[in-house]
Symmetry: C2
Amino acid sequence: MIAVENIRRVYTPGGTPVVALNDVSLNIGTGEFVAVMGPSGSGKSTFMHIIGCLDRPTSGAYRLDGEDVSGFSKDKLAEVRGKKIGFVFQGFNLIPRTTAVENVELPMLYNGFEAKERRRRALEALITVGLEEKADRRPNELSGGQQQRVAIARAIVNDALIMLADEPTGNLDTKTSQEIMELFVRLNREAGKTIIVVTHEPDIASYAKRTVRFRDGNITKDERKW
Amino acid sequence: MIAVENIRRVYTPGGTPVVALNDVSLNIGTGEFVAVMGPSGSGKSTFMHIIGCLDRPTSGAYRLDGEDVSGFSKDKLAEVRGKKIGFVFQGFNLIPRTTAVENVELPMLYNGFEAKERRRRALEALITVGLEEKADRRPNELSGGQQQRVAIARAIVNDALIMLADEPTGNLDTKTSQEIMELFVRLNREAGKTIIVVTHEPDIASYAKRTVRFRDGNITKDERKW
Ligand SMILES: Nc1ncnc2c1ncn2[C@@H]1O[C@H](COP(=O)(O)OP(=O)(O)OP(=O)(O)O)[C@@H](O)[C@H]1O
Ligand SMILES: Nc1ncnc2c1ncn2[C@@H]1O[C@H](COP(=O)(O)OP(=O)(O)OP(=O)(O)O)[C@@H](O)[C@H]1O
Ligand SMILES: [Mg+2]
Ligand SMILES: [Mg+2]
């Protein structure tokens, strides 16, 4: 379902170009649960943004469900994201002057849900991450771990078949981290979601059935557990 | 050196007041290395902001080096922060259109260092966290773990006697986390810095000699190792 072939991503911000991804090829099948690990700066978030249709590679191909997305217009990419992908960002990316429940409703605006149904689903997602009493709070009124959980609720609310989670437990205590990983396991087993989690914690990676390791913009290891 | 007595912090954003800190009393001596743990939303960051002179308690007293800071003006608090406290924020709080080295130089503006000396010290701090080649990059050109390390460099650059680090390794791989914690141990042992680290990872807390646990705005445990 996710087929990446010889992906290269070079940033040229002025001065020396930065090779964030060098030559990355990977196939992830429907319903897999994959952990992505690797040192700081090794290209994990860059990879996630490309497969999440938020960024284009400098060269190489990306086929999502058999379709080559490099041909897609901006609008088509936004539609694909809204329908197929739930994304938990490393920096949360919550909208500042917007309440938690409104932040969680956002991905559903593309999906044709009525306002009442969006509100119901958003509150349900907040209950799932233990934050229903914070529904009307804005991000600056929430703790770091609460903001992270709002970002997680936003990623599950549109029932997308793919979940991309970039360090989803970085700000959570051990107990809450386990609850979130058990949620992901349920979504994978019961709803058949394809889940890719970037993490630097081996305990979190152990919930996945396959671990892919990055180093200096390349994949250096790809291990399945049985 | 840090004496907190019956601190209470209530937020009243409109609607139900939120008791972030209920009744917190704690003494931390010069040169101690303390880990602060507790569930998401239990008051850790609120506590750190108060002892870091970035926020005032609703009631209760805070004496820093024997002086009651509740009497201080805004300017006096800014001066105390610039001279005495290095702060690593949970959300990094880097300035967006400013390079890494300029971000690291910021705390020194209060300390009377010349421009050349500020630049030298800032580059040295970036070398210490392994980021010298990213000195001229802006935050949006850096990975999550690189931004976190710039925030750490900024907290060590003014040689402040107190370091407050709120989840400083949340976005770092295991190896880099260990390097950062070993840096903190060196600063504590060799430079006599008083260090308080909020973390939810027991491996990180084990570098400290004392662990304080929060729950629902109260301290529920305070343990020293021997
Ligand atoms: N400006 C605010 N207005 C209302 N409530 C707030 C505000 N800031 C923080 N809070 C609330 O205060 C409580 C404590 O927050 P704090 O950030 O100190 O928690 P924390 O222990 O650091 O959590 P985490 O581990 O998730 O970072 C939380 O319930 C939070 O929602
Ligand atoms: N806009 C940009 N301009 C220049 N370089 C960039 C830009 N964005 C990212 N980079 C660089 O690309 C490399 C890979 O970054 P990426 O965010 O993918 O790393 P990562 O593996 O997610 O790291 P972390 O674990 O620290 O989050 C880094 O060296 C980073 O500095
Ligand atoms: Mg990253
Ligand atoms: Mg916090």
